[in-house]
């Protein structure tokens, strides 16, 4: 077990406001907005409605797992595009699926240290625009072409070109595969689902519920943090477009397993959706809140990062959240709202099952017995990544922000937002409503 001390000590870290773009499903071709476009689409209206002007920010920190080659250090690019001026530094963090949560944590730590007072933090990802690369053979062939000086040598070199040279490397698939254990993310879900006996019907039922909950939230106007986003062709995107209102278990049952082909359980229908999107939060110190008379949505109380077997990365939330519960002297039921990122339906169900499992809690978490059950009415009540989508670099900020909005709506006091991280990690954040 790691440190018993919360990373921010007793210094309050406030969340003033937050916003995100709708999450736009990748449809097999580059989406309408680049990662920095998305962050600007969320950040511009967010900053426009604040009492403070963008030049007062101390820094901008963005998570982005797959930045495009022409948006290097996207945090700085977005700071400049948002009109923060030359003097506001910007940087970029990368912790796979938790990149945005890492950005928020980094912002909070700097505020706790007294190094920053106002920070814009969050994440952005244009998964539909993930690069397609030349394979190694092609790269060597191109290098050879550069060395061939005479026309004859060039011609000879062209004769060596084979169809295999043109086989592209899809960066998105590489990014979603663990290079050390040789498993893609869906396969890690198959492993933990098998471990806890989660079946296909449970996964599909969970997924249907995710869609229906999102539909209800949209209809009830509970998705305030989603901001209308415009592309340059004048199209407007107002809601997450991966939502399937007519989703049903019968329909999902017809889908074929995608990762463990033929025999597996995990299908595109019970996995998170590949999407483009950005989510941002404005964090402030007590000094900034007082000086600028800023409203307060909530506080970030604690944060934990945990490591585990990469082949079982889906259980990361269990390993990251448990220390937070212990050191804040909380039972599972003391947390009024849980936002567990739905990388896969089977993975969320496995996390819930792990906490209910005496043996797992004893062997893996060092507890005396099972920690308890999460009330399903306090978990992902407005849907999750299965229905909303999972732009990997942005989701961490989305769940933290949405957890705060749910607390504001339900009157709850404490929430945990947590996600699993490719490579075998978990990240969790403890949030509370209001200023106290």
């Amino acid at each position: 077990m790691q440190s018993n001390r919360a990373p921010y000590g007793s210094t309050p870290v406030y969340v003033v406001d937050g916003a995100r773009t709708p999450f736009l499903k990748a449809r097999g071709r580059p989406g309408p907005l680049s990662a920095s476009d998305l962050a600007v689409a969320a950040g511009r209206p967010l900053l426009a409605r604040q009492k403070i002007t963008p030049d007062l920010l101390d820094e901008v920190i963005l998570g982005c797992a797959m930045p495009s080659p022409d948006e290097a250090n996207i945090g700085r690019i977005v700071a400049l595009r948002l009109g923060c001026g030359h003097k506001v530094p910007g940087w970029t963090v990368m912790r796979n699926c938790a990149s945005a949560m890492q950005a928020v944590d980094s912002a909070a730590r700097n505020i706790a240290l007294g190094a920053s007072d106002l920070v814009l933090a969050g994440g952005t990802e244009a998964m539909s625009r993930a690069a397609i690369l030349f394979n190694d053979d092609m790269v060597h062939w191109l290098a050879g072409l550069g060395r061939a000086k005479t026309p004859v040598a060039k011609l000879k070199h062209f004769a060596r070109l084979r169809p295999g040279h043109l086989r592209p490397v899809i960066a998105l698939l590489k990014g979603l595969t663990d290079p050390l254990v040789g498993l893609n993310m869906g396969q890690t879900c198959e492993i933990i689902s098998h471990r806890f006996g989660i079946d296909r019907q449970q996964m599909d039922a969970f997924s249907v519920r995710s869609h229906l909950r999102l539909a209800a939230a949209v209809d009830a106007g509970a998705m305030d943090e989603v901001i209308a986003t415009y592309d340059s062709a004048g199209n407007v995107y107002e809601t997450d477009d991966g939502l399937r209102r007519e989703s049903s278990e019968e329909k999902l049952a017809t889908l074929k397993p995608f990762f463990d082909r033929k025999v597996g359980l995990v299908t595109p229908g019970n996995s998170s959706q590949v999407t483009d999107g950005a989510a941002l939060m404005l964090l402030a110190s007590a000094r900034a809140v007082e000086e600028h008379d800023l409203p307060v949505l909530g506080r970030i109380l604690d944060c934990e990062w945990a490591g585990l077997d990469p082949a079982q990365m889906g259980l990361g939330p269990v390993h990251a959240s448990t220390p937070i519960l212990l050191r804040n002297d909380l039972d599972i039921s003391d947390v009024d709202y849980w936002e567990i990122n739905e990388a896969f339906a089977g993975q969320v169900l496995s996390c819930v099952a792990a906490w209910e499992d005496d043996q797992y809690c004893r062997d893996e978490l060092g507890l005396d017995a099972a920690l308890g059950s999460i009330d399903q009415d306090k978990l992902n009540i407005d849907g999750g990544a299965v229905s909303i989508g999972h732009p990997v670099g942005a989701s961490g900020a989305r769940i933290a922000l949405h957890a705060l909005n749910v607390l504001a709506r339900t009157g709850g006091d404490k929430a945990i937002a947590t996600l699993c991280i490719g490579g075998g990690q978990g990240g969790a954040m403890l949030l509370s409503r209001g200023a106290e």
Partner: protein, 676 residues
């Protein structure tokens, strides 16, 4: 240094490498322009340089804003006769000949705009190096003033870049940016500003071989070929400008056709040709319009205002395009409408505008980033100017102002783009009613340079001045107007368009009506104009003005609006529209005599009425406003100038004849007494 002269616009210094650095820094001026005195001064310096026999001469500007903006246009207005003009031009030519004839290499360092005579001076140098900055525009825009290059530019430009490229520059008068200038051979090198002097020195120490005339150019300049090329060029020009209205471009082609094989003769012919053009009415009127434009710009002089953020309410065609234009001009803009789907189309149009104007993707992105859709109106508290451009409903506008005012920054401008509702009717709801002004833009915003700045008799000067300053900030020409129905532009256009409809009802084919107006010099006939503006808009304005000034709205117009035949935007108006162009049936019918008077004199008469009502209290500004707002034949110098030139008695007598024949709507306005 040789500086103990009376005038020291030009100075030169020999450096240790024996390079002569010849500097032009016009005294008591912010911008370098060429006047008779400046040319004489240059002549003196050249004489000294000849004696010093330097290794090379490097000509550069002492002004950071640019190289040379052109000839001193104010000097033109003092010319009394073609002979006098000819002398002036020949003297200038001789000075540049002297520069060209120096035995050593000569290099012009173009650090910014090099236009007209400024570029001609650079052309007289052996080499040109320009900064690689889009602001350093080069061009020969003389045709815009009804003349053509006169310091040898018609000869040297063709010799340097070839007949087609040179003709394109001279006939269109358009600006060439450095990258293009380098590609076409107008400049020999482009460098970042920080290296300009060094590049000049390096070239002077080791001058490259000069280019030889290509075989193609030699072929094109052969007598018989020249005739064919010249007639091709004339046909191109005829599509844009009529010879009787705009003789200058035709004169450029004629010069080349007749004299291309005789440079010495061509210089003299060029001087003769420009001398006679300079004294023509066309040129004098165009020069006047150019100077009036400067006067409108100068209206913004005085207390500087800072405009960083504009908030526009209403993302329709006008509001959306105003917002896009402001963003293009560097403002942060928030664009508000009831729901995102109303703003989307404006964003799409903005993207198109930015791409067309800015080209470079990073600049387009920056402009798009400055333009934020803002359904919640979050931009209001930060805006330095709030422009309302919602539908024409006084209640809705008042309701909006009531919501806006308490949220606005103190001192921020509150403006309406209304074309038909009076400020007096709208401002009552405000705590500070005097702050409301009108900023009336014209459609299409990106093409129409005029903005009517509307005020009432009570509006404090401070507020009017802010409106004017804002118009200048976004590079538009302000015309202060007293609040009154139709202001200036719509009011003078209305009788013109209404009369056209009456003529049409009498059976005159529509294309003939348009032809008559174009023969007068209007850029577009009244029927095509009505279709372009939109018949619903025309109908609305006609109704408002009809109520105010007592004339009926033509029934045909009402009928067409009911039938949703709204002109260009619906594909059917008076004309059928295909691909953005009206389908005009060929008609053999010639323009009936007097038709132009019947169409145009009511417009001229209305301009006088505008002055009588003191909507604009300056006749020169009125002329400029009508030209920039309606396109009124610029070479005629505006309606008042036209009437004065034709003779006011003749105009009023013609109106009286029309009145007797066609009715009281031709009754000459009482205001004519005041302008005699």
């Amino acid at each position: 240094m040789t500086t103990d002269k009376k005038t020291t616009h030009w100075t030169f210094e020999l450096d240790s490498d024996s390079l002569a650095w010849l500097r032009f820094d016009k005294t008591d001026a912010g911008t370098n322009v060429l006047s008779a005195e400046v040319m004489a001064d240059l002549n003196d310096r050249l004489a000294e340089i000849e004696e010093a026999s330097p290794k090379a001469v490097i000509v550069f500007s002492g002004k950071s804003n640019g190289f040379i903006a052109g000839a001193d246009i104010k000097e033109f207005t003092g010319l009394e006769s073609p002979e006098q003009a000819f002398d002036l031009v020949r003297k200038g030519q001789h000075v540049l000949d002297r520069l060209e004839a120096l035995p050593c290499p000569t290099i012009a360092l173009i650090n910014g705009f090099a236009l007209g005579g400024g570029l001609e001076l650079a052309l007289a140098c052996r080499y040109r190096i320009s900064v690689d900055d889009p602001k350093a525009v080069m061009g020969l825009p003389e045709v815009k003033l009804g003349i053509h290059p006169g310091f040898g530019g018609t000869v040297r430009s063709v010799a340097l870049v070839g007949v087609f490229a040179a003709m394109d520059m001279m006939l269109t008068g358009r600006n060439i940016r450095p990258k293009q200038a380098y590609r076409m051979g107008l400049v020999d090198q482009i460098v970042p500003e920080r290296h300009l002097r060094r590049a000049g020195r390096m070239m002077a120490m080791k001058p490259p071989a000069t280019r030889r005339v290509s075989a193609r150019e030699r072929l094109l300049s052969l007598g018989p070929v020249r005739g064919i090329v010249a007639s091709l060029l004339s046909k191109q020009v005829a599509k844009k400008a009529r010879r009787d209205h705009y003789p200058a471009p035709y004169a450029i082609i004629d010069l080349w056709r007749r004299h291309a094989d005789d440079p010495a003769g061509m210089y003299v012919a060029e001087a003769r040709s420009i001398a006679s053009l300079m004294c023509s009415d066309t040129s004098r009127n165009l020069v006047r319009v150019f100077l009036l434009q400067d006067r409108m710009k100068a209206l913004a002089a005085g207390k500087p205002h800072r405009f960083g953020h504009a908030h526009v309410v209403g993302a329709g065609v006008m509001g959306g395009d105003i917002a896009a234009w402001c963003a293009l001009r560097g403002l942060t803009v928030t664009l508000e409408d009831r729901a995102p789907e109303f703003i989307g189309p404006a964003i799409k149009r903005a993207q198109k505008l930015f791409k067309r104007k800015l080209r470079e993707p990073r600049l387009v992105q920056a402009a798009m980033d400055r333009l934020m859709p803002d359904v919640d109106g979050t931009g209001v508290p930060r805006a330095d100017v709030v422009i309302e451009a919602i539908f024409e409903n006084a209640d809705a506008k008042r309701e909006l102002y009531t919501r806006l005012e308490p949220r606005m920054k103190p001192g921020a401008v509150l403006a309406t783009n209304t074309s038909s509702i009076r400020l007096e009717e709208l401002r009552g709801c405000l705590d500070n009613p005097d702050r409301l002004i009108g900023l009336h833009f014209f459609n299409p915003v990106a093409m129409m340079p005029l903005v009517e700045v509307i005020h009432t008799a009570e509006t404090p000067d401070e507020e009017i001045q802010k409106g004017i300053a804002f118009a200048r900030r976004i590079d538009r020409l302000p015309l202060p107007c007293l609040s009154s129905p139709g202001f200036v532009v719509n009011r003078v256009l209305m009788p013109y368009m209404m009369e056209a409809l009456l003529v049409a009802e009498e059976g005159v084919p529509l294309p003939v009506i348009d032809k008559a107006a174009k023969a007068f010099g209007m850029p577009m006939g009244p029927v095509e104009l009505a279709d372009t503006v939109g018949l619903d808009v025309a109908h609305h304005v006609a109704r408002i003005l009809g109520e105010a000034y007592g004339f009926p709205v033509p029934e045909q117009l009402s009928r067409m609006v009911e039938q949703k035949k709204l002109g260009r935007k619906t594909g059917q108006g008076f004309y059928e529209w295909k691909n953005g162009k009206p389908v005009k049936e060929k008609s053999d019918q010639s323009v009936p005599p007097g038709l132009a008077d019947r169409l145009l004199l009511p417009m001229v008469d209305e301009a006088i009425a505008v002055y009588r009502d003191r909507v604009v209290d300056d006749l020169d500004l009125l002329d400029a406003g009508v030209i920039f707002g309606t396109g009124f034949a610029p070479f005629r110098g505006g309606p008042v100038n036209y009437a004065r030139h034709r003779g006011i008695d003749d105009v009023t007598a013609s109106l009286e004849q029309l009145r007797q024949r066609l009715g009281d709507r031709f009754q000459a306005d009482e205001g004519w007494q005041e302008v005699r």
